[in-house]
């Protein structure tokens, strides 16, 4: 396995286990490399569109899709753990990535009413709701945080 893949897997395994997004220090300690090496790997993973870093902070991850490094309106509860997702797609994506039943809580972007979705046995239970993609695919990465 190459170094960048080790870094990527370490990030995902850590956030899956703890619900907390690791920093470059955590990753360096986790795989036994220098912080600088971990941050250089972060940059290469950004170029591959697998990570989004916090602005002006090479050590902190804002997004390792589907996981969010900050609190968002999209909560995904799996067993006793609560994860935060970047968007509607990623809220379902966390359940898909972790291959587990999940209780998802979000809100209608229009009226703010709480929306709850359940993933059971590999599929969502019927529930009212739709998803609106405001940005066309060709422009998603022009401002991925907004997207």
């Amino acid at each position: 396995m190459d170094f960048d893949t080790s870094v990527k897997l370490n990030i995902y395994q850590m956030v899956a286990r703890t619900t907390r997004m690791p920093t470059s220090i955590d990753v360096a300690l986790g795989i036994g490399c220098s912080m600088a090496d971990a941050e250089q790997a972060f940059q290469r993973l950004v170029e591959k569109r697998l990570l989004v870093l916090e602005p002006s902070s090479p050590s902190r991850i804002r997004m390792a899709p589907p996981f969010s490094g900050i609190v968002t309106q999209h909560q995904v509860k799996i067993q006793d753990k609560v994860y935060f997702a970047n968007c509607a797609w990623d809220a379902f994506g966390i359940a898909a990535a972790l291959k587990h039943d999940a209780d998802i809580e979000s809100a209608c972007a229009d009226c703010g009413e709480t929306l709850q979705f359940q993933i059971r046995n590999g599929r969502p239970l019927p529930h009212e709701g739709v998803v609106h993609f405001a940005v066309p695919a060709a422009q998603w990465w022009q401002d991925i945080v907004y997207t």
Partner: protein
């Protein structure tokens, strides 16, 4: 990529925020997309799909047209 209670709420939100209404995605389509896109994210083999793969994935679940094409230049000059 936001959740809404219904299409009526999408219409209201688009009007209130000056956003053009785009194609809607059902919860079942969203789940299929999540499984295809993120199902192996915690594995060594995981990678982001390339542009043509994206078109194929979207098409498989009924999301077709230039809106879903990451190579489309129809949107490149849109305001």
């Amino acid at each position: 990529m936001l959740f809404f209670r219904s299409e009526e709420h999408v219409d209201h939100w688009c009007q209130a925020n000056g956003v053009s209404k785009r194609p809607l995605v059902s919860l079942d389509q969203l789940w299929q997309l999540a499984v295809i896109w993120y199902g192996n994210r915690l594995t060594v083999e995981s990678r982001r799909p390339g542009p043509q793969e994206m078109v194929t994935i979207f098409s498989q679940i009924g999301l077709e047209g230039p809106f879903w094409d990451p190579k489309s230049d129809q949107w490149a000059t849109a305001p």
